[in-house]
């Protein structure tokens, strides 16, 4: 049995204590080896608009099973619903829009594969939806229009159909009142008929339209450092090495590379966490990981 080594990523911790890379099992690596890479910023990834791009390269086996040498498993953080995406090797692949994952699992299915995978998180421009609908929804119809003089709020049911004819699903479908976004509804695969209640705050006559919002490749900007995971195969064993760490805005690397620890200090109106480097005394402010509140079930 050849020597197996694991270095780099396995020793690095996200600021929520989650290892950003982990080798499951007893350490024996071989076919169907999985490298679990947690998301970018101390994670989990929770922004449904984030995409991920993979750049596999290296020597791939040829033949009938050249497909499926690598698969990527995305794990929904809430429902536990896993989905597989297969790469044919040597290319670039985008996971579909609406990526919502707590970790990404790269699985090598071929014992002879010598593969270097660069994983790049891609973020759409903040605040710039820039609709690039390639298949605009059918013109909507409006029903049950009503104006409430007391609350100075008008509402109307907007009914429309949308069938996606493009490779990627839209992020959402947005109803616009006189060209101004009024309400959005998430796109659901397989659903073509939508009814949504739009609200306006000025009495008048409105022209409602519907747009399918979608990001194109050119609109996506990469804001994270690429992480390379090298999987080098020698039948039947593989070694896994990793280098670097995920960094979005530069803050995550501080967590990975310094001797940062300490105690909490409560400070009035402070709305972030501060990391202290014990060696240099430098501090870094990082976000509190996605605070949330949840009410009881209704009714």
């Amino acid at each position: 049995m050849s020597d197996k080594s694991i270095s780099g990523l396995t020793q690095q911790q996200g600021n929520d204590g989650m290892p950003i890379a982990d080798i499951p099992g007893d350490g024996g690596l071989g076919p169907d080896t999985a490298v679990i890479i947690a998301g970018a910023t101390g994670l989990p990834i929770s922004d449904p608009s984030i995409s991920i791009q993979l750049f596999p390269s290296g020597a791939f086996a040829t033949g009938t099973d050249s497909l499926g040498q690598i698969s990527v498993v995305k794990t929904f953080s809430n429902s536990g619903d896993d989905k597989n995406f297969f790469l044919s090797g040597g290319g670039t692949s985008f996971l579909p829009d609406g990526f919502y994952a707590s970790d990404i699992r790269v699985v090598v299915n071929h014992v002879d594969a010598v593969i270097d995978i660069t994983i790049q998180f891609l973020f759409p421009p903040v605040g710039d939806f820039g609709p690039s609908a390639t298949a605009p929804p059918e013109p909507p119809t409006a029903e049950n229009a009503a104006w409430d003089a007391e609350s100075e709020t008008g509402s109307v049911d907007i009914i429309f159909t949308y069938t996606n004819e493009d490779t990627f699903d839209p992020i959402g479908l947005v109803v616009l009142a006189d060209g101004v976004p009024s309400v959005s509804v998430p796109f659901e695969s397989g659903i073509t008929e939508y009814t949504v209640r739009a609200t306006v705050f000025t009495e008048g006559v409105y022209d409602f339209t519907v747009a399918a919002y979608k990001y194109t490749t050119s609109e996506i900007t990469a804001e994270s450092a690429a992480v390379s995971v090298s999987l080098t195969g020698a039948d039947p064993d593989l070694s896994v090495t990793g280098s670097g760490g995920f960094s979005v805005g530069g803050s995550a690397l501080i967590v990975f590379s310094t001797d940062a620890s300490g105690i909490y200090t409560l400070a009035k109106n402070k709305r972030n966490d501060t990391l202290y480097d014990r060696e240099t005394g430098l501090t870094t402010d990082v976000k509190i990981p996605d605070p949330l509140a949840r009410i009881g079930y209704i009714p």
Partner: protein, 99 residues
């Protein structure tokens, strides 16, 4: 609308149409309705928070479930929210699922 207590927990199916909030803060308030066991969700349009406002905005949603929970959160650094009131507008649309 007001619901009689006897309606609660008897398996009726409701349409969740909108949520009205009295919310202050900074950043984007992200909201979603979640079904029992987190099997279904409806992500709502984010609410842009401000430190002072005279509005109690109504955020619409289209979700049909027997029961649902509202989750509110922020995701960016220095974002925060303070909520005084949450009103979830629902309407019964079915008596129960078969079987």
């Amino acid at each position: 609308m007001a619901l009689r207590k006897s309606n609660s927990g008897e398996g009726s199916i409701y349409h969740y149409g909108s949520v009205r909030l009295r919310a202050l803060g900074s950043g984007n308030l992200r909201m979603r309705l979640i079904s029992l066991s987190d099997t279904k969700e409806a992500i709502m349009a984010p609410l842009v928070l401000s430190t002072a406002t005279d509005r109690e905005p109504l955020k619409t949603v289209n979700f049909k479930q027997q029961r649902a929970s509202l989750e509110i959160s922020t995701t960016a650094i220095d974002e925060y929210f303070s909520i005084d009131k949450i009103v979830v507008y629902i309407k019964p649309v079915g008596s129960s699922y078969p079987g």
